[in-house]
Subunit: 287 residues, 2 copies
């Protein structure tokens, strides 16, 4: 268990930890309860904790306590050797997207899924699906969205995560090559003009010339107060202006559900039926 | 007068227009009152209006009605010939930063200064200083900030503007080379962790290895409710981690004052005395 981004409520952490401990032996450094403004302790502390977890040959998976903000601060000085140890699956979402992208830039698979402090709210069934994804030699069951923005089919590695954080790596060396990818995007608390601004950033940076399809997760608390338009309407129009296969409403992100999905693994997006199929297991792909 | 970004209150526009007309003949297309969600009409309308203004040899300066959001949407399809006409000074700030950066990428000077709808609040003296900057063959009077974050002196072209918008061009072909520049940054309504996230984006993209100094304008409504830390404290620490000469509190941006400054023109930042001197006039530099 690590805390590479913001601080969190200790109670939610303990409850999440209890769920993990039903199945695994879980360890954490007491330093993870440190606080420095909006961060779970200093950059040096969070970076050392992350690097130690990645390097330890006895650790099979790394769970992040919470997103928030702070993971991008670590990227500039992550030791090149941090990925030298045996592969292991990192689990998290939202701000943790920065670490996922860095891992995928190094060819790794990781799990876009619940952070530890979110697990209690999602409940035991969601935990069971997360454990299944971590352990199973078979690909996960397909996910269903609820809307087709642009029809068509796309196949490629699933890359992306939180829209805000994905855009924060544009123009940096920490973004994986997105060529041929199916782009996953979700966000929370960003008003429609901000979603538009971030989508436009992806467009100006040439991302939509490289990816093959777009799978949209939850966009929660993204409405403009008293507006006559919705964030979904804005996203649909942006997707249509791009023209790549795009389906929306996948249960991934900050909404009621946050189904775990393997980033860096191959998927097939069938936008007409809003279906996302997984072609590789997360676990065995990591050897 | 053009409206390349968001819609605006007609009353503020008329009041601003009256101030401009005390000195200049001012024209605008009636289409500028069109509205499309958060935009002042369609991309096609706003783009055509911008291109026509830039191409018209009878126009000496282009005032933007308002920022908001929408200028970045125009960048991808601005005609290469849009800058073929005689140089003229574009005036605006906030979202208009996207157009400034595009102009500076083409070697042009433009004016980071009030939008038309802001002029009535700033009053006649502020208008007079804007007109002076537009017309004078001499460099403008120096500006004074109110804090030194990192001492030292830097000289180079002044580039930048709104922090949010500057970061939205990272990794795109619309960002000017920032080598040797003094970077101007201001913002509004961005909480400290978001300022940190954007600053960190600039850092990860290598911007602070290219610029020579940093001049910070207003950061209004950037506080975290009930936090024990301020946005100024966070910005100071970020500046100190970069180590370039940096002074803050210049009267530029969304605050009480919004002094016009020539982007793309050479400046000298004396961070110890929080002084920003202009080495070139805006007007004559444009021939």
């Amino acid at each position: 268990m690590i805390a590479p981004a913001s601080g969190f409520e200790r109670e939610a952490f303990e409850a999440g930890l209890a769920l993990i401990r039903r199945r695994y032996r879980a360890e954490h450094d007491p330093g993870l309860f440190e606080r420095q403004r909006y961060l779970a302790g200093s950059d040096a502390r969070r970076r050392a904790e992350l690097q130690a977890a990645l390097a330890d040959p006895g650790i099979r998976a790394v769970f992040c306590a919470r997103g928030g903000y702070g993971a991008t601060r670590l990227l500039g000085q992550l030791a090149a050797g941090a990925l030298g140890g045996p592969p292991k699956l990192l689990v998290g979402f939202s701000d943790i997207t920065a670490l996922h992208l860095w891992l995928q830039a190094h060819g790794r698979i990781s799990i876009h899924g619940p952070v530890l402090t979110q697990l209690p709210r999602l409940g035991p069934a969601a935990c069971a699906r997360l454990f299944e994804l971590l352990e199973s030699p078979h690909p996960a069951a397909p996910l269903r969205g609820d809307a087709t923005y642009v029809g068509g089919t796309a196949e490629g590695p699933l890359l992306g995560g939180n829209l805000s954080v994905v855009t924060r790596l544009l123009g940096t060396p920490f973004m994986p090559a997105l060529d041929g990818a199916v782009l996953l995007l979700e966000d929370q608390g960003e008003r429609p003009y901000r979603l538009d601004r971030m989508w436009t950033h992806l467009r100006l940076a040439g991302v939509f010339e490289r990816v093959r399809g777009i799978a949209l997760g939850s966009f929660t608390h993204c409405e403009e107060p008293e507006a006559s338009y919705s964030s979904a309407e804005v996203l649909r129009e942006l997707a249509q202006s791009v023209g790549l296969p795009c389906a929306a409403g996948f249960p991934v992100g900050h909404g009621e559900a946050n189904e775990p999905v393997p980033l860096g693994a191959r998927v097939r997006l069938e936008a007409d039926s809003a279906r996302l199929s997984f072609l590789e297991p997360a676990a065995s792909a990591e050897g």
